[in-house]
């Protein structure tokens, strides 16, 4: 038996970090002292100082402001694609687990097919075909991230559907929709919450990776990934250029993992398998 408050500290640290990061992103226009697009030819590659707490980049832009604006992109991609994965995964996993039979087979084989596509590769391909844009990145990461959720939900539903409270609802005349919405969904929510939390950092990393390759959201819009790309040539001369975007990627991933793990322990669940 784990202690009753197991995971509490992890959860609290993680969620506070998430709140701070979200606040920084949302309040970017208020907190940033400089316009993230404003170049300053005189002060390029300035080390951190009072004026520019995180230094300036090769065009003299304020890195602190750019990191804050970059947080907006990263968190938007992370949360929106997570919501999309959870929605698709829930729908398909629920249908597969509840109705079973042929439908279950079809859905799960389709899930396996999607599972073998590395989302990074798919983003790269689609971005090469279409114009790189924020919504495309969100759609592709969300559209390939759901198989884990679908499997999880299916497993939960398979376990729940033989429970007596489901039969009891059927006795009262509940239809499939009602049973799924009121009886299965709330009881399958716990593990999905953990998986959803852990899928956010995966999406953040994928977005940063794609942007780093120069195929994601395009400059001059600041994202942590394309800032790292810009910093590549100056690693030996200006450590702050790559350090701060990297630090924020690290903090975000760390915060969501901490929260997810804390949640998992609090809910008393066994380790959830997730996709990287």
């Amino acid at each position: 038996m784990e202690a009753k408050n197991a995971g509490n500290t992890e959860f609290l640290i993680g969620i506070s970090l998430i709140i701070i990061l979200s606040a920084l992103a949302l309040l970017a226009p208020l907190l940033a002292a400089h316009d993230p697009y404003e170049t300053d030819a005189q002060n390029w590659l300035q080390p951190p100082c009072k004026e520019h707490p995180f230094g300036t980049d090769r065009l003299g832009r304020d890195i602190f402001s750019r990191v804050l604006y970059g947080a907006r992109v990263s968190l938007a991609v992370g949360t929106l694609s997570m919501l999309m994965s959870v929605a698709i995964g829930f729908l398909l996993g629920m249908a597969a687990g509840y109705f079973g039979g042929v439908l279950d087979g079809l859905i799960m084989r389709f899930t396996d097919i999607v599972l073998v596509f590395p989302s990074m590769l798919l983003v790269l391909t689609l971005v090469a075909i279409f114009e790189p844009a924020l919504w495309l990145v969100i759609f592709v990461i969300g559209g390939t991230g759901w198989p884990g959720v679908a499997r999880l939900v299916r497993g939960e539903v398979l376990q729940l559907r033989t429970k007596e409270f489901i039969q009891s609802a059927r006795m009262l005349g509940a239809n499939h929709f009602r049973i799924m919405l009121y009886h299965l969904l709330p009881n399958a929510l716990g593990p999905v919450l953990v998986a959803a939390t852990l899928s956010v950092p995966a999406a953040v990393m994928t977005e940063a990776g794609v942007s780093y390759f120069g195929l994601g959201i395009q400059p001059p819009i600041p994202t942590w990934g394309n800032m790292l790309r810009g910093a590549q040539l100056y690693l030996r001369h200006a450590w702050w250029y790559a350090f701060f975007p990297g630090l924020f990627i690290f903090l975000t991933v760390f915060a969501f993992h901490l929260t997810g793990e804390g949640l998992r322990k609090q809910l008393g669940l066994t380790r959830v398998r997730r996709r990287g």
Partner: protein
């Protein structure tokens, strides 16, 4: 009297690990409106399966079930409600008491919000629960309270037949006694018919008008409560009765329980009980016994009873 429920030669088989299990194998019974039938037998005798067949949770492979004159095999009617054995598993852990009880009304969609709440309060009162529990979750209730919530959930559908699967087996003695008293008064108030599934004869004796004793998927004896308890015909019934020692020393000479319940995948030929029956004769291991009416309304399926009478 017109019968509310008629079960005719119903059978339910299922396959587990390659062997066919005959859970219920040709059972007939009937029940008038407002009366209570006790279904007794050891674990695995098929009494819960029979209850689920009547409730429509399972569909029989053979036989008919009539309710108020209509065939209902495999159909779930609002007027037949089933209260599950394990109330902890039968209540959605994420719903509050109010929503649990209200659910049937919401599904029916006949009532407005305020009417529904009034009916929930009435049902709560009927099962003897205070209103303070209305917004509790099942895990915040005691075993007896959960069982009452499960009954209220069924009662709100205004059933004519309530099937109770081991209603008191998970409760301690006092909570069980209070629940039985409640069941008795509810029955009179609402003119409910009960089928009470239990392995405990004392429970059946307190609540029921009729008793059917099941063994290995068949009914071996049925009759009125007084008949079964005062002059049990089947040796199996006598054995079950002996499990409850009577305070009256004159009646302590009942036989002891011998043998193990039959393996449902290897049901013996002839009378299913004969390997355990000390009075078994040659006929018992070859011919399944037919029902024999020893006194009006009291039927026994035993070769020995017939020969003793003649």
């Amino acid at each position: 009297m017109a019968k509310l429920l008629k079960v005719k030669n119903v059978a339910y088989y299922y396959t587990a690990e390659g062997t066919r299990i005959r859970a219920v194998d040709g059972v007939s019974l009937s029940l008038p409106a407002g009366k209570a039938l006790g279904l007794v037998g050891e674990s695995g005798s098929g009494k819960s399966t029979l209850g689920k067949l009547i409730a429509g949770l399972l569909k029989p492979q053979r036989g008919c079930i009539y309710f108020a004159g209509e065939r209902i095999e495999g159909k779930m009617l609002p007027s037949i409600q089933y209260v599950f054995q394990n109330s902890t598993a039968a209540l959605n852990p994420r719903m509050r008491v109010k929503n649990l009880i209200e659910e049937g009304l919401i599904i029916q969609g006949k009532y407005r919000r305020q009417q529904r709440i009034n009916r929930v309060l009435t049902a709560l009162k009927a099962v003897g629960l205070p209103e303070t529990l209305l917004y509790r979750f099942p895990h915040e209730l005691s075993g007896g309270q959960k069982q009452r919530v499960a009954i209220a959930r069924a009662l709100i559908m205004d059933p004519r037949l309530l099937i109770l699967d081991e209603p008191v087996s998970s409760l301690d003695v006092t909570a069980g006694a209070r629940l039985l008293a409640l069941l008795k008064s509810l029955r009179q108030e609402k003119h409910l018919a009960y089928i009470l599934i239990s392995h405990d004869l004392a429970v059946v004796r307190q609540v029921c008008d009729y008793v059917a004793v099941m063994y290995a998927g068949k009914i071996v004896e049925r009759g009125k409560v007084e008949q079964i308890f005062s002059s049990p015909g089947h040796y199996y019934t006598k054995m079950l009765l002996s499990a409850h020692p009577s305070p009256d020393p004159k009646r302590r000479c009942l036989p002891k329980i011998i043998g193990e319940p039959v393996d449902p995948s290897h049901i013996p030929a002839g009378c299913r009980f004969h390997p355990r029956c000390p009075q078994a004769t040659f006929a018992c291991s070859h011919r399944p016994p037919a029902f024999f009416e020893i006194t009006p309304g009291h039927l026994v399926a035993c070769h020995r009873t017939q020969t003793q009478i003649f």
